[in-house]
Symmetry: C2
Subunit: 477 residues, 2 copies
């Protein structure tokens, strides 16, 4: 029976959360069933289906009860955070209970002694950043992109983003999680304070949940490290004629003990196009590609000496005139141009993979993608997190395809994944597997490894009710 | 049948590794069956049993074949690294194949582009540190204690130690692992280069192996991050009259963006005794306890300004005269005195727990342990990694016990664990569960969480042949 037509299920859910928080209105429910979308992307991603129920619990206890009901009735449950993922991680593909977490957003609690912040899972990145703005000493260092992302979602997705060179990814920020298991138990994974930085008691289930894409539990609370604010910041733009030499400059910089917040590589023509689309100015015109290095140091003296060191090192690798943006506004503009990259291309975009290779292989994988793009007649523009080997090849529509995605595109993408793996890389360094990379997971893992992953899923979720079909298909249900 | 008497098993093993690498000599075999030991500790830890076979494979392929044989015959296998663990993690308690990994120690490969080092699993910490000594830019930042520890063991144990404040623990250093699963498959957990810093494809099995204490796989290769060497170092000793205020100074220091390599808290009388035992001098005599802060900065100017900042902050919290050790020799002496702490006490020692609480709870847990030690007539001296909440209460023999461990000791220890957990802590932040904390694991985890852990064990090791009985008992075998 379609979930939404099951009167007794609806009644049970209403008893748990109150009738006000159960929604069966078809349009509103469908609006919760999808995630990031554009014309082309919609052809790649499975279509969200109607027939679900939206339930909005207020906390762990209600979530536990809802999962209890879902288990009893074997109804799928799809948790829904900010819906900012891009691999179909949260798309609802069979009538389900859509567990909308937006009411879990009351608490942002800064702990000045443990240097942590504890947040309800549906607190958004934007809300956290805003709250931290008033703090004079501490901040949350990551910025994986969309500020509508919720912290619980960022945790289960192990979000990364631009600012990962110095401070790492979400995994490195999380000191504790609270969650409801698919079988209904409310747990803290042996870390009831959420503030332990060392815990070697048993298998680390917290680490396992991070990156599990909502398939192993519903996060209700996240505790994150806070980092001291550095007072002096600048963004350097360093043009290079040769991409390979730009990448070679990166380890040379890091080896000197310079730890930028971010090291991005952008192709000149694309970044200038993004700037123009925004009506802004990208300051560099020379070279083929640019390193964009965000520095954040203790004081201005240190900042300038670091900038000078970077300029010197870059020159050894063929770096041209280094440009420095120092004012807040200038720096914000540059980052906005960089972030607008996706939006500027949006109408033309088919897909945004996020393959990752060892830093040493970045130039080689980009050359390989270029030659594949010629072979398969794909238009690709690339953007690399040069500090960590994470590459976004934005794949665009060809003019003659009339909106429909060609078989060549799929072949191209497959070859790209194979190339990344042959270089010791991964099919996804940021976005996860979701619904859209399930086939490719087999390129990277052995049958036995996948079998172990499925057994883990089964251990957490014996009835396969939570986010079923995400990452991999299970035999049951 | 006792494993060592099984002629056909021995023959099969000899065919895999060659007769030279199978050892059945009772004394030599028994010498591989234990780990850290002293008189009292031996009463706590289960006794190593005779009747095993030692096998010394040369690499992954042979390990895979040995595990194949072990599965077929349902013979337990205990991997053996440096045997430097202290929770009975590697003690052989039933006749087994002791898989001695010492031959996996040929390769230490520094990668100057990815800033990593790849080592065979049995390379020791000491060998790695020695190899890195000749490098002018990069080093391996951790030092969990015994330099005889092997890197594979340090990985599965998620070793921590003193130098964890700035650089984190083993989990934070590992970019990749290769392993043989208990079922014989040779795997790289989807990270064939071992050099990925971002991988969001499927569940993170690498993270799961870290801290699994040799129960989920046999590590054959470890790839670790290298960090830039900082050229200016110093060790500060800051005496405090009140322990609580010493701990309160710690977050105040960290909030300023000062990131020491280590922040230790030592009780004055004990550290002076340790110095005397070594025939060395501990420089501070005032206060009840001392913060020992190891700094490592880019240059001398930065070092002195950091030291001055720390001194100022400490004074606000009642810190007395700050002493600075600047020469290499002075600093080495201080660290040696600190490390000698255990050895100085060795003959008196019953147990070295490693409970960990949020940093904010350190003073409270230490007060609680003091009052418990009175209640149960236990002599305890404490040493805290004040930067991360990890506490070592060294529990000593009472004079009147005549070598035998009293019931009071067990009661005391139980109460101590309960107190740590009630403050949001863990029963073990460093040493793991091994054989000696299996009962206490139930204090920290729910039945359901433990059931999930056991299912994970079963997924990796359906026959329960690898390190059986470590962490928890399984039903099978």
């Amino acid at each position: 029976m379609e979930v939404v037509k099951d009167r007794s299920l609806i009644k049970e859910l209403e008893e748990i959360v109150g009738p006000r928080w159960v929604d069966t209105d078809p349009d509103r429910v469908l609006s919760y069933a999808g995630e990031y979308t554009n014309d082309a992307f919609d052809q790649l991603a499975p279509e969200p289906v109607p027939g679900s129920i939206v339930v909005k619990p207020e906390g762990a206890k209600e979530i536990s009860e809802i999962l209890g009901v879902a288990n009893k009735r074997e109804v799928p449950v799809v948790p829904k955070g900010g819906a900012t993922a891009v691999a179909g991680n949260g798309i609802v593909t069979e009538p389900s209970i859509i567990l909308v977490l937006e009411r879990l957003n009351n608490r942002i609690e800064i702990d000045e002694t443990n240097l942590t912040v504890t947040c309800d899972a549906a607190v958004t990145l934007g809300e956290l950043l805003e709250e931290m703005e008033s703090h004079d000493k501490l901040h949350f260092p990551l910025h994986p992109g969309d500020e509508g992302a919720q912290l619980g979602g960022m945790a289960v997705m192990n979000a990364g983003g631009v600012r990962a060179v110095r401070d790492g990814i979400m995994r490195d920020q999380i000191t504790g999680l609270k969650a409801v298991l698919p079988t209904g138990e409310i747990v803290d994974f042996g870390n009831s304070s959420g503030k332990l930085v060392k815990n070697n008691a048993g298998y680390d289930l917290t680490q396992l949940i991070i990156g599990s894409e909502g398939t192993l539990g519903v996060i209700t609370e996240v505790t994150l490290k806070l980092k001291p604010i550095k007072s002096a910041g600048a963004t350097l733009i360093i043009p290079f004629e040769e991409r390979g030499r730009a990448f070679a400059a990166v380890p040379a910089i890091l080896k000197e003990g310079i730890k930028p917040v971010a090291i991005e590589y952008v192709e000149k023509d694309s970044i200038i196009a993004s700037a123009e689309d925004l009506g802004k100015d990208w300051p560099a015109r020379s070279g083929e590609g640019h390193l964009m290095i965000i520095l954040s140091e203790d004081d201005e003296e240190k900042l300038y000496s670091r900038a000078a060191e970077i300029e010197n090192i870059s020159q050894n690798y063929g770096g041209l005139n280094t440009l420095i943006a120092e004012t807040e506004q200038e720096q914000r503009d540059l980052l906005e141009i960089r972030s607008h990259f996706v939006l500027a291309l949006d109408n033309e975009l088919i897909d945004i993979p996020d393959i990752t290779v060892p830093v040493s292989e970045l130039d080689r994988i980009m050359s390989e993608i270029e030659s594949l793009s010629q072979e398969y007649d794909a238009e690709v523009t690339m953007l690399a997190h040069a500090g960590d080997g994470n590459l976004h090849p934005f794949i665009m529509k060809s003019d003659d395809e009339d909106g429909k995605i060609s078989d060549e595109f799929y072949k191209f993408k497959r070859k790209m994944y194979e190339a990344a793996i042959s270089m010791g890389g991964t099919i996804t360094g940021e976005h996860g597997v979701g619904l859209m990379r399930k086939k490719e997971l087999k390129l990277q893992y052995t049958e036995r490894e996948l079998e172990i992953m499925k057994s883990i899923k089964r251990a957490f979720d014996p009835q396969n009710i939570l986010s079923p079909g995400k990452i991999f298909e299970m035999e049951k249900r």
